[in-house]
């Protein structure tokens, strides 16, 4: 399994060259392990062939959860536990006081959707506070783009291809598992 720990790092300084390099590598059926960029590159996910995100579906579900919790919460606070006379209309029912609850319903829906979505994103990307960064090079947080390719013993072929795509630097790298 020695061979499988070897990775090739190719460094770029432009997002368009990077996009093109990713395209070329994919066309030649080389597996890209990871791409590190200082900012989200538009269209990179499509070129890399990453599955479309499903976070919008989760967002809808989280919104529904937030809405339901808001209904239960308001109903308990404003109607059951301490009935409130709202706007001089002592109806004491949830439905007839509903207009005054709409802002709270809206805010709770948005609050749940937004926060749970961020937490989901962190979990899914395996991020948490004090986590050590995985970037092989610090400059990928500044102005450089890096493609990490699993070598699979085809170093030479890949390196030749990378040179053609305009890589600044090509390095071999071994990961310690």
């Amino acid at each position: 399994m020695v061979e499988n720990n070897k990775y090739i790092h190719a460094l770029y300084d432009d997002d368009d060259t990077l996009l093109n390099a990713v395209k070329v590598l994919r066309e030649n059926k080389f597996g890209i392990d990871e791409v590190y960029t200082p900012f989200p590159v538009h269209g990179l996910d499509k070129v890399m062939g990453i599955n479309e995100t499903r976070i919008s579906i989760m967002s809808f579900i989280y919104g529904c959860i937030g809405f339901s919790i808001a209904v239960l919460m308001i109903n308990f606070i404003m109607i059951e536990d301490w009935p409130q006379n709202i706007g001089g209309k002592p109806s004491f029912t949830f439905f007839e006081n509903m207009p005054s609850f709409v802002p709270v319903l809206f805010e709770m829906t948005v609050y749940f959707a937004a926060h749970l979505m961020v937490i989901t994103f962190y979990l899914r990307s395996k991020l948490w506070p004090f986590k050590k960064s995985e970037n092989p090079l610090k400059s990928t947080t500044d102005d450089k783009f890096l493609i990490e390719i699993h070598s699979n013993g085809e170093d030479k072929k890949i390196k030749a291809l990378l040179k053609k795509t305009g890589a600044l630097e090509i390095n071999m790298h071994e990961k310690e598992e």
């Binding site: 001089g88 207009p99 005054s100």
Partner: protein, 452 residues
């Protein structure tokens, strides 16, 4: 380079003319069958009472009409004995207003679409947007209706000023002399001033439209970006002029129909309504032209962006609709809340149906990103939004014009059809006058390559 030009096909021309003729017939039917005097109004009412729901509410109705228009209430309170006579007179006014109100709602609605499109166009120009220059000619086509449409609305206001109808009670000196509140507003709400204001606003909007169109066409042939920059400048200036005058226009032409009631966000509310109807119309016209083989460069990303605007502005409209409602509902001040009581009791179906059509339906249909790229979804939602906002205008005008005598029948549909035919004719006729794509725009390349 072969310029792509639109030719107004015969089928569509025929459609627009038949819509106009049918619509005109519907409107004439409405005017002919409207009662000429109180006697006839009584007959209409008694005929209605036989079969329809009016009979069971007839006692409640008199009560509600009193709330509805305070001027009548003052009168009837003083002369309790003549109450039933004054009620008959009131119903007579409402029934004779009905065809006028149907005409006015439809005339205003189609005018509003083109004004909303003009605002959208100016925003795109002022922001120097990259995605939309491909649609500029479509927008310019739609805004061609603004001047004739606006003149028709002002002409109807002028006829109201001649007392041919009783749409606006503040135009009636008899009412004003018995009504302290309206009398206090006389300096602002009087026929010559309202008409002059209206003409001034329309002139301002039309001037912008004229020059922007001129510069847009000149930019097609120009070698530098001089006209583009000119267009940018006048668009920014127009937007400032527009948002002030649009507000005042909405008070004058719509809110003044309830001269006792006022809402401070009414201008915004009408703006949201015209904005979303305008954007939906742009989407519908674009998809129609595409289906006929024109505008080949328009891709699903452009449609997606229009879909996002339709979705977003529908939510914005709901926000304003609800803000206006909630504050008035919460404070519960009689002279304010009567506006919504009338609508919720007499206009239950259009009032709540409108929220379903303008909010819930587009919200659910266009929520998914992929659906915003599908023509069927955009067309279905666009049609529902446009009808929904017609009903929105209907709800703003009708309760004060005809009270609980409203009905969406031959006259109302006729009015809608007539102005739709006129709108289609003027818009598509304007589209033939210039190349369908503004290829000279400096952002045209970006717009053509645009993809999301």
């Amino acid at each position: 380079m072969v310029e792509e030009r639109y030719s107004f096909n015969r089928k569509l021309k025929l459609l627009s003319f038949s819509l106009m003729i049918l619509g005109l017939m519907g409107l004439c039917f409405g005017f002919i069958t409207a009662p000429k005097n109180i006697q006839e109004a009584r007959e209409v009412m008694s005929n209605h009472s036989h079969g329809e729901h009016h009979s069971e509410n007839s006692i409640k109705n008199t009560e509600k009409i009193d709330i509805n228009s305070l001027s009548i209430m003052y009168k009837s309170k003083k002369e309790e004995v003549e109450h039933s006579n004054s009620h008959d007179e009131h119903v007579f006014h409402q029934l004779s207003n009905k065809p006028w109100a149907a005409l006015y709602v439809a005339a205003f609605f189609f005018f509003m679409i083109s004004l909303g499109t003009l605002a959208f166009y100016a925003i795109n120009r002022a922001a120097q947007v990259g995605w939309s220059p491909i649609l500029f000619r479509v927008m310019e086509g739609i805004t061609a209706y603004m001047l004739p449409g606006g003149l028709i609305v002002i002409f109807i206001l002028f006829l109201s000023g001649l007392h041919l109808n009783h749409l606006f009670i503040w135009m009636d000196p008899e009412v004003v002399s018995h009504d302290k509140i309206i009398a206090a507003k006389k300096g602002y709400l009087n026929v010559p001033f309202v008409l002059a204001r209206g003409l001034f606003f329309l002139a301002g909007w039309s001037l912008y439209r004229y020059f922007s169109r001129k510069f847009s066409l000149a930019q097609d042939l120009a070698k530098d970006n001089k006209y583009h920059r000119k267009n940018f400048r006048i668009s920014a200036a127009f937007l400032v002029f527009y948002i002030v005058t649009e507000s005042i226009m909405s008070w004058d032409w719509i809110m003044s129909i309830d001269p006792h009631w006022f809402s401070t966000l009414f201008g915004w509310y009408v703006f949201a309504s015209m904005f979303v109807s305008g954007i939906s119309t742009i989407a519908l016209v674009t998809i129609y032209l595409k289906s006929k083989g024109y505008l080949k460069e328009v891709n699903d990303s452009h449609i997606h962006d229009l879909g996002k605007f339709m979705f977003g502005v529908s939510v914005f409209w709901t926000y304003l609709w609800f803000s206006q409602f909630m504050l008035i509902w919460y404070s519960n001040i009689p002279e304010e809340v009567t506006y919504f009581i009338t609508r919720m009791e007499d206009y239950k179906l259009p009032f709540f149906g409108m929220v379903v059509m303008n909010f819930i339906f587009p919200f659910l249909m266009l929520m998914n990103s992929d659906y915003k790229r599908m023509n069927t979804f955009i067309v279905t939602t666009g049609v529902v939004i446009i009808i929904g906002h017609y009903i929105d205008v209907f709800n703003m005008i009708m309760p004060s014009a005809v009270g609980d005598q409203w009905f969406i029948g031959i006259t109302e549909i006729g009015g809608f059809m007539f102005f739709m035919g006129l709108f289609i004719y003027i818009v598509f006729n304007e589209l033939t006058k210039a190349p369908l794509i503004a290829k000279g725009d400096p952002f045209y390349g970006e717009s053509e390559r645009f993809h999301y």
